[in-house]
Symmetry: C2
Subunit: 285 residues, 2 copies
């Protein structure tokens, strides 16, 4: 077992890193240099400047997951094709410098992921289920059997919410938004009833004009609509899932899943990620 | 019959006006001063500067339709509630200056329109049907019986295409887009098969990453997907429609409707608008 190592979750917008010594996390940092925001630097330069000093003279293992393995990152790492047993991840790491490794992402015929595979590996150990829901900018619904990822699908829920509020007529001229559980629940119900969004999105505008939706609550209503549509679209015959993510988003998804009659366990995304990295390193020794 | 008048289609982004004398269109203009782009001017000031000179000393009638009747326009004009016979429009005009009139928009319990009602009135005379499809930024599907508008629904198709290409990961880093009827047809088929968009939008990204969609054809594929989803969502049991709109958009919708087994007549949006205005004026004399 590797007692000293560095774990890095290096996504599109941010890099987060944790330094472990003797099995304990002794330092961590978060930087705004995701692979889409490297600006003038290469990923290697960011690594040398901020991460390498943690290693001192030793080449302690560094395991990175996420968009750092895309063509915008350090080096493109081929996807592993589903179905794939996740215990293969440890033997399919891609070395980009001495003892510096990138975890490969996964693909299906039509979809791709990078980073979630590492969270999944951890979540499968800590909270076993046949379906994992990973809410976020691009939510993933992952089907698992016999420790292998069989299939997954991505919903653009978080990004769609962001661009509709910030760039469409729905968000135009809105006052500051507030928490509104009733508006969220109303949107949720609409999305769960039928996930055909294209005619419902305009309702966020029309019902506001008609006075049936408070302008301060549009963001909540839209969040409910989109999450409801996601659950209605991707649930299939699922009756039980494990949610993997941050607390606030998981709370919204828990309500959606409950309303849809789906039982949900939960594990924090960071916890799942740390367990995934550790498990990959353990398997190499 | 009014032989001399001014017709104005005054929307969010543009104002288009036509001067008729003795039944003939003798002048027209297009200005970038839609109600969301009035900048420092009021609608009245734009009118006085660009339209009033056409009237000379006579107060020839001016009939305006569109967002000019919204709270961002000249003056808010109440919506007429559906079902509403469109021959009522002529008696429900709203006067904002001497012989200067705004056509009221329509509403249902959940939806609103401003401007399309005038096109509809013209289209109902020139190309009778029980369902009108008006493609655009916010496409309208309108149900008509006995010359009354019973119901309508709005799909955010055009705006969704715009913000996805310009503000989401789907459009990020795309090269110049090209015409690609095969990509359009593939997107169309996907949208028609099932209008649940939330998981299909990411496919525009994933299939590009996987090499199954050419980066130059993303816009066409997405256009097909969204139009297909619109038709699948809003067609109900419709088997025959009249399309009202511009030539290029109508061509796309005609293909979608044909693929869905719906017969489509067609009338140009401008023709329908001119007929609508003329019909409103005729009814007042």
């Amino acid at each position: 077992m590797s007692e000293s190592y560095i774990a890095i979750d290096w996504g599109s917008t941010h890099l987060r890193a944790w330094l472990y010594r003797n099995g304990q996390c002794v330092d961590n940092l978060q930087l705004p240099y995701g692979v889409s925001r490297l600006a003038e630097q290469t990923a290697r330069e960011v690594f040398d400047k901020y991460i390498a000093p943690w290693r001192k003279q030793e080449a302690i293992p560094v395991v990175m997951a996420g968009m750092i393995g895309s063509d915008a990152g350090w080096q493109p790492v081929p996807y592993l094709a589903c179905p794939v047993p996740l215990d293969e991840l440890s033997s399919r790491l891609f070395e980009v410098a001495e003892n510096v490794w990138i975890v490969p992402g996964l693909r299906t015929e039509q979809d791709v992921m990078r980073g979630e595979e590492t969270q999944l590996l951890g979540a499968m150990q800590l909270s076993p289920a046949s379906c994992y829901v990973m809410p976020g900018t691009h939510s993933k619904w992952v089907q698992v059997a016999n420790n292998a990822v069989n299939d997954f699908a991505t919903a653009m829920t978080g990004e769609l919410h962001h661009i509709l509020i910030n760039h469409s007529l729905i968000g135009k001229g809105l006052p500051e938004q507030r928490d509104d559980s009733a508006a969220f629940a109303a949107g949720l119900q609409s999305g769960l009833e039928s996930p055909a969004l294209i005619n419902k999105l305009f309702a966020a505008r029309a019902t506001r004009v008609l006075g049936d939706l408070q302008p301060e609550s549009v963001s909540e209503w839209l969040s409910g609509l989109l999450i409801g549509a996601e659950v209605a679209t991707l649930r299939g015959d699922t009756t039980q899932v494990t949610l993997v993510g941050g607390e606030s988003l998981c709370r919204r998804y828990r309500q959606a899943l409950t309303d849809a009659g789906i039982q949900a366990g939960e594990i924090a995304g960071d916890t799942a990620f740390q367990q995934g990295i550790r498990s990959i390193l353990d398997a190499r020794h």
